[in-house]
C-alpha cells in the first residue's frame, strides 16, 4: 500500500483538491486581511457562480468555462454592492457586527437558492469532461485537471497582481497599515470594496471550474467553507501566500488521512496538523501581510 507509486498518486489527488481550497481561501484571507472581516457568506458566492454556470449551460448552451465571463463580473459586482450596502454601515462597530451581517447574508442566499431552484441536485455532464488520465489506481479527468490548473494559475496571478501592480500595492498598504495608507492619500474605503469584490470573484472563478466535477445544490458552499477557514488561520490570517500553501497542505493531509484512517477519523490528520501548528506558531505559517 505504501509503495512510492501509490504515494505519488495520493500526492496528486491531494494537490488537485488543494489548489481549489487554496483559491477559495485566498479570497477569504484577502477579505480578512484588508478589513478584519470574517466572511461567513463566502461559500454562497461559490454556490451563486455554480448556479449561473449551470443555467447558462442548460438554458443557453453556454460552455461552463465560457461562463467565467459571466460569473467573475457578477460575483465581483455583487461583492462590491454587498460591501457598500450591508457591510460598510457596520464596519466600524465591534468586530462581531460585520461577521453577523455576513452570517445573515449566508442564510438569506442559501434559502433564496432553495426557494428559486429547489433542493434538487443538478449536474452538468459534457462528454469532454470525462477524458481521463490514469496514474495507477488514481484517475484524473480533464475537468479535474482544468480545475487544478485554473485554480493554480489564478492564485499565482492574483499573487502577482498584489505584488507587482499599483492597485495591488495600494490594497496591501490598506491591509498592513490603514492609517498610514490614508495619510498617503489612498482611498482605503475603495480599496476595501475592491478587495471584497476580488475575494468574492475568486469564487466566481472557482464556480465554473468546479461545476464539471461536483453537483450543484444550495448547500454546496458549506462543503468547502469550514476548510477554507481552517486554511486561512493556518496560513496566517490575511496572508496570501499562507492561504495558498495552507490549501495545499490541508488538501494533501486530508488525502493522507483518508488513506491511513477509517471513516470520520480521517480528517483528524489535517486538523491535528492545524492544531499542532497553532500551538507552536499561533500566528500561522506567516504573519499578516
Amino acid at each position: 500500500m505504501f509503495e512510492p507509486s501509490f504515494l505519488i498518486q495520493i500526492l496528486i489527488s491531494g494537490l488537485t483538491i488543494g489548489a481549489i481550497y487554496a483559491l477559495m481561501s485566498a479570497g477569504l484571507t484577502v477579505i480578512y486581511g484588508v478589513m478584519d472581516i470574517i466572511h461567513a457568506a463566502h461559500g454562497e458566492y461559490l454556490m451563486m457562480a455554480m448556479y449561473i454556470t449551470f443555467f447558462a449551460n442548460s438554458l443557453f448552451g453556454m460552455d461552463p468555462y465560457l461562463s467565467l465571463l459571466l460569473t467573475v463580473p457578477i460575483t465581483f459586482g455583487v461583492g462590491v454592492l454587498v460591501f457598500y450596502g450591508l457591510i460598510l454601515p457596520v464596519i466600524d462597530e465591534a468586530p462581531a457586527y460585520p461577521m453577523l451581517v455576513t452570517i445573515g447574508i449566508s442564510i438569506v442566499l442559501q434559502n433564496l437558492a432553495l426557494y428559486l431552484f429547489t433542493a434538487d441536485f443538478r449536474m452538468l455532464t459534457l462528454p469532454y469532461f470525462s477524458l481521463k488520465f490514469k496514474f495507477g489506481l488514481l484517475v484524473i479527468t480533464l475537468g479535474e485537471l482544468i480545475a487544478f490548473a485554473g485554480a493554480l494559475a489564478v492564485s499565482l496571478g492574483f499573487y502577482w497582481f498584489l505584488l507587482k501592480t499599483d492597485l495591488g500595492r495600494r490594497i496591501r498598504a490598506s491591509s498592513e497599515d490603514r492609517e498610514g495608507a490614508l495619510l498617503m492619500g489612498i482611498n482605503v474605503r475603495r480599496m476595501q470594496a475592491i478587495s471584497f469584490g476580488l475575494g468574492t470573484a475568486c469564487l466566481g472563478i472557482t464556480g465554473p471550474l468546479l461545476t464539471p466535477i461536483y453537483y450543484i445544490n444550495p448547500t454546496i458552499g458549506d462543503l468547502f467553507l469550514l476548510r477554507a477557514f481552517v486554511i486561512v488561520v493556518l496560513g496566517g490570517m490575511g496572508n496570501f501566500v499562507g492561504a495558498l500553501l495552507g490549501g495545499i497542505i490541508i488538501g494533501v493531509s486530508e488525502v493522507i488521512g483518508t488513506i491511513l484512517l477509517p471513516g470520520s477519523l480521517a480528517p483528524i490528520v489535517s486538523f491535528t496538523l492545524f492544531i499542532g501548528f497553532l500551538l507552536f506558531r499561533p500566528e500561522g505559517l506567516f504573519a499578516k501581510k
Partner: protein, 414 residues
C-alpha cells in the same frame, strides 16, 4: 320546616328527559366527538436532505386529502385529519426542539417521523418522555426499537433485515453470473445508518461465504472521494455493498465511473431507489442495484397511486416516500381502532393493530403488526436496478417488472 316532596310524575318527567337528552346527544357523549385529529409530521424540510423531506410532505398531504375526502376518521364521527409540520433540518438537536413544540404547543396526538436515523433516535426519546406515540416510517436503524420504549413504533424492518435481504440478492445475482461473485467490499457513511448496516452485512456475508476484501467507511459530505475509492478498488472486489446519503452517493458514483469501477455489481442499501438520485444520475450509473421498499411497477394499484402523485406534484414516488404514505394510513387505521384521539388510546391501538394485504396496505409486506418492542414484523423489501435511466424492480420475481440486466458487469466477461 316542611320539605317539598318530589312528586312521582315530576320524577318520571325528569328521568324521561334525561334519557331523551342522552339519546339525542349520545353520539357526542360516547364517541367523544372531535372535529379534527392533530397529527404531527416532523420531516427534513431544509438543509442537504430537504429534497426527500419536501416529497414526504407532499405525499402526506395527498394521503390526508384522500382520507378526509372519504369521510375522515369514521370512529370519531368523521373527524378530519389535520397535519402540523415540523422541520428537523436533518439535525438531532433541532429534531428534539421541534418534537417538543409539536407535542406541547401544537398538541398533536401522534407524530410521524423524520430521517436521518440520528434525528429519529433523538425525537423518539422526547416523545417517550412526553408520552406521545411516534410512528417511525422512514428510519430503520437497529436500535430505534431496542430501548424498551412504549411509544415508539417502527414500520420498516430493521437495517439488519436489509443486510440479510442483500445477501440473498447477492446469491441470486451470483447464480445468474455463473458463480463468479466471490469477493465482497463494503462502503458506507459512518453515522448510525451506515455503521449499523455494515455490522449486519459483515455477519450475513460471512454466513453466506463471501470474504470481505475491503471495508471502507467515510464521513458524510466529503468533498474528495478519490482516496476512499482507491482504498476500495485496491482490494479488487467482485461486488460492492454501499450505503450513503444522496449527495455522497452522487459524488461516489461519479468518481467510481471515472475509475471504471462500475463494471461490477454495486448494491446500495438505499438512496439510489429515490427519484432524486436517478433523475440526476440515471445515465451516469446504469446497472446500479438498490434495496427498495416499493416501486410503482410492483402492481397496478401501486402505479395508480404514483400517477395521482405525479398529477398533483410532479415527479415520481419512490420507496422512501411511499413509506410515509403508508404511515398516514397506519395512523388512520389506528385512530379507527382506538375510537379516540387520546395519546394513550392511540398508542394501545398501534400496539395491537394488524393491517393485512388489502386497500390500506400499499407496501410489498406480509402485513403490518407491531411486536412488543414496537417493531413491525411483517415487512419486506424489493430490489431495483437502474435501467434506461430509471429504477426498475427486478427482485423478488413476483414483484419484478423486468429481468436483471447483466451487460454492464464487464469484469466477468471473458
Amino acid at each position: 320546616m316542611k320539605r317539598k316532596h318530589l312528586s312521582s310524575s315530576r320524577l318520571w318527567i325528569g328521568i324521561l328527559s334525561v334519557i331523551v337528552f342522552s339519546l339525542i346527544t349520545g353520539e357526542w357523549v360516547f364517541a367523544q366527538q372531535v372535529k379534527e385529529v392533530r397529527v404531527g409530521a416532523l420531516y427534513t424540510l431544509s438543509g442537504a436532505l430537504a429534497q426527500s423531506g419536501v416529497r414526504q410532505k407532499n405525499v402526506t398531504e395527498m394521503a390526508v386529502e384522500e382520507i378526509n375526502a372519504k369521510g375522515g376518521i369514521k370512529a370519531l364521527g368523521g373527524a378530519k385529519l389535520t397535519v402540523v409540520y415540523g422541520d428537523s433540518q436533518g439535525k438531532p438537536d433541532i429534531a428534539v426542539s421541534e418534537t417538543e413544540r409539536l407535542i406541547q404547543n401544537e398538541k398533536v396526538s401522534v407524530i410521524m417521523d423524520v430521517a436521518p436515523s440520528v434525528c429519529t433516535l433523538a425525537a423518539t426519546s422526547v416523545a417517550e418522555r412526553l408520552k406521545t406515540p411516534f410512528l417511525a416510517t422512514v428510519s430503520f436503524a437497529d436500535h430505534i426499537t431496542e430501548r424498551g420504549y412504549k411509544y415508539t413504533f417502527q414500520q420498516e424492518p430493521k437495517v439488519l433485515e436489509v443486510a440479510r435481504q442483500q445477501t440473498i440478492f447477492v446469491d441470486y445475482l451470483n447464480k445468474l453470473l455463473g458463480g463468479k461473485l466471490k469477493k465482497a467490499a463494503l462502503l458506507y457513511e459512518d453515522t448510525d445508518y451506515g455503521q449499523t448496516g455494515a455490522r449486519g452485512r459483515r455477519t450475513f456475508l460471512k454466513e453466506a461465504g463471501y470474504p470481505i476484501v475491503a471495508d471502507v467507511s467515510f464521513p458524510s459530505r466529503t468533498p474528495n472521494y478519490d482516496p476512499i475509492l482507491m482504498k476500495l478498488k485496491a482490494g479488487d472486489p467482485d461486488f460492492v455493498l454501499d450505503a450513503s446519503y444522496l449527495s455522497d452517493a452522487i459524488l461516489i458514483a461519479k468518481t467510481a465511473k471515472k475509475m471504471d469501477f462500475l463494471n461490477i455489481p454495486w448494491i446500495a442499501s438505499g438512496t439510489k431507489t429515490e427519484a432524486a438520485y436517478w433523475e440526476v444520475m440515471g445515465n451516469e450509473d446504469p446497472g446500479a442495484f438498490c434495496v427498495s421498499m416499493w416501486g410503482p411497477d410492483i402492481s397496478p394499484e401501486a402505479n395508480s397511486i404514483n400517477e395521482r402523485y405525479k398529477a398533483k406534484y410532479g415527479g415520481n414516488l419512490d420507496g422512501v416516500i411511499i413509506l410515509t404514505y403508508q404511515g398516514v394510513w397506519v395512523v388512520k387505521e389506528a385512530l379507527e381502532k382506538a375510537g379516540s384521539a387520546d395519546r394513550d388510546a392511540l398508542r394501545n391501538a398501534l400496539a395491537t393493530i394488524e393491517i393485512k394485504p388489502g386497500p390500506t396496505l400499499f407496501m410489498p409486506y406480509q402485513n403490518i403488526k407491531f411486536n412488543e418492542k414496537g417493531l413491525n414484523t411483517g415487512g419486506g423489501f424489493t430490489f431495483i436496478q437502474i435501467q434506461g435511466g430509471k429504477a426498475v424492480t427486478v427482485f423478488p420475481e413476483r414483484f419484478a417488472a423486468k429481468k436483471v440486466d447483466l451487460s454492464m458487469f464487464t469484469k466477468f466477461k471473458k
